[in-house]
């Protein structure tokens, strides 16, 4: 390799930590483990419904990849999500373990996954830093990423919208648990 290294900067530990999503604290992970998944289902369905109502063009951007099955596996939660991007009636389901034979599996902390959806994090950057692990049909991943990035989804607001009078407090609570989107590279780290 070259004897004269050109000037370059490498992400130091602190810098990477400042820009990258945190993980759900272990105590919360443990607390979640025994909870049944069933109550999650109406919230997920309502969130998806809200997202589709607010962003009707999202599946158009998926093009030929609409209909593919995406597994989203938060590595710091004892559950996973299955997104079936059927053009007319897409579905999202909470599961304990993802089924085999998915088109795509995306693994990462729940903060990284939510940041990916609401645009707070750059998907490529998360992948480069190994905060996201992606397997399967890469073209479908890229299409999904681009579709949701363009849709400008506010996942927390749209997800909490179905909770009626509880929406505002739930939103505040969730936001306090989640990292702030990194739009300013000099922003203080969340921890």
């Amino acid at each position: 390799m070259p004897s004269e290294q050109p000037a370059r900067r490498t992400a130091g530990h602190e810098e990477a930590a400042a820009d990258m999503p945190g993980r759900v604290p272990l105590v919360v992970q443990l607390a979640l483990r025994p909870l049944p998944l069933l109550p999650l289902q109406p919230i997920l369905a309502a969130t998806l419904k809200a997202v589709l109502a607010n962003h009707p063009g999202i599946f158009e951007r998926l093009g030929p990849h609409a209909g593919k099955r995406f597994g989203l596996a938060p590595t710091d939660l004892p559950l996973a999500f299955l997104l079936e991007s059927l053009p007319r009636r897409p579905r999202i389901t909470a599961v304990r373990t993802l089924p085999a034979r998915l088109d795509v599996t995306i693994r990462g902390s729940i903060a990284a996954l939510i940041g990916l959806v609401d645009g707070g994090y750059d998907g490529d950057a998360l992948f480069f830093s190994r905060d996201l692990v992606v397997e399967g049909d890469m073209e479908a991943v890229v299409a999904l990423r681009n579709a949701i990035d363009d849709a400008q989804i506010d996942l927390v607001r749209e997800g909490c919208g179905s909770l009626g009078p509880l929406a505002a407090p739930a939103e505040r609570l969730l936001r306090s648990l989640l990292p702030r989107p990194v739009t300013d590279p000099g922003a203080m780290p969340w921890n």
Partner: protein, 325 residues
């Protein structure tokens, strides 16, 4: 110096304009542009809306139609030129000589820029495009040093634009068939390099293996920053040594070169990354806006601080400093 920012989607265009881009470049959702990625780019209606959004805020829109039209099927590319003009594009960024000739003849009032894909790397090549077609600006390849950029800009009969941040082509752009050799899909013909359709990753918990087509491009140890399997940034073996024989998976960050580029007479600074998300666009544009403000005010320019956004989590000033070679 103008700041030229990428947009792969209407949301990204709005993010770039809001973050202070002087101009945004984007393309139609087909193989007429060199970022023909799934789910990316603009429909005709989105392009017109994007132009309106940008113009209302004092920003320009440059439409990239910078692949090389397929022989016998020129209509798709001619249509893109006509539609970009109709949408109110401030300039077209073109690479193919035949297509530049078409645009110059059919739309003589339209401002034309020579894409980096045309690999105009010296004053004679630039003069060829200026004399033949009256182009107003050329985007210089990422293979030149700052003194070379200065010399070319002095001798050039039109404006020059250079990349300051983002993905780094180590091969002369527009003259590389590595991707089509391995996948059948090339930047010049299909608008993709090392396309996602041919990419696979395998992560066994310790090593992440990236492959393109039938070839292993890289293996990453646990915790090591990963990279997209772009052919020229993979690890390979030779009889002399193994490793990144072409280039490490680094990104260009020429923030510290801004004073030199200004002195060189460069008109516009370009940020790569139409395939990247809104978060990237907003961060990078804001950072360079701040760097340019510092430059204008005579303050020192600190690094862009964008390392975490970059491939391999590492940045380089690339060929702008000659030791790169």
């Amino acid at each position: 110096m103008e700041l030229i920012c990428p947009a792969g989607t209407p949301a990204a265009l709005r993010a770039a304009v809001d973050a202070g881009a002087d101009a945004v470049y984007c393309g139609f959702r087909d193989e007429t542009n060199a970022r023909n990625f799934p789910g990316l780019n603009f429909s005709r209606a989105e392009m017109a809306e994007g132009v309106a959004y940008a113009h209302a805020r004092g920003a320009k829109v440059l439409v990239a139609i910078n692949t090389f039209p397929r022989a016998g099927q020129l209509g798709l590319w001619h249509g893109a030129v006509d539609d970009a003009v109709a949408a109110g594009a401030d300039a077209l960024i073109l690479a193919d000589v035949g297509l530049i000739a078409y645009a110059a003849e059919c739309h003589p009032a339209q401002r034309l820029h020579v894409s980096v894909q045309a690999a105009a790397a010296n004053p004679d090549a630039i003069a060829f495009y200026v004399e033949a077609f009256g182009v107003k600006r050329v985007v210089l390849p990422r293979v030149l040093s700052v003194p070379e950029i200065a010399a070319i800009t002095r001798a050039a009969a039109c404006e020059t634009e250079v990349f300051v941040f983002g993905g780094l082509c180590v091969m002369a752009e527009g003259r590389c068939s590595l991707s089509s050799h391995a996948t059948g899909q090339s930047p010049n013909m299909h608008g993709v390099c090392s396309p996602a359709s041919h990419v696979s990753y395998r992560d066994d918990g310790n090593t992440l293996v990236s492959r393109l087509g039938d070839f292993t491009i890289n293996k990453f140890a646990k915790g090591e920053p990963a990279a997209y399997p772009t052919l020229c940034k993979g690890r390979f073996r030779t009889g002399i040594g193994a490793g990144y024989i072409f280039e490490e998976p680094v990104s260009l960050d020429a923030a510290e070169m801004l004073p030199g580029l200004k002195k060189a007479g460069v008109t516009a600074l370009k940020i790569e990354g139409r395939q990247r998300g809104r978060a990237y666009i907003a961060s990078v544009v804001a950072s360079f806006r701040a760097a340019l403000a510092a430059l204008e005010a005579g303050r020192p320019i600190t690094g862009a601080g964008l390392t975490a956004m970059t491939e391999g989590q590492t940045t380089t000033v690339g060929a702008y400093r000659k030791t790169w070679r």
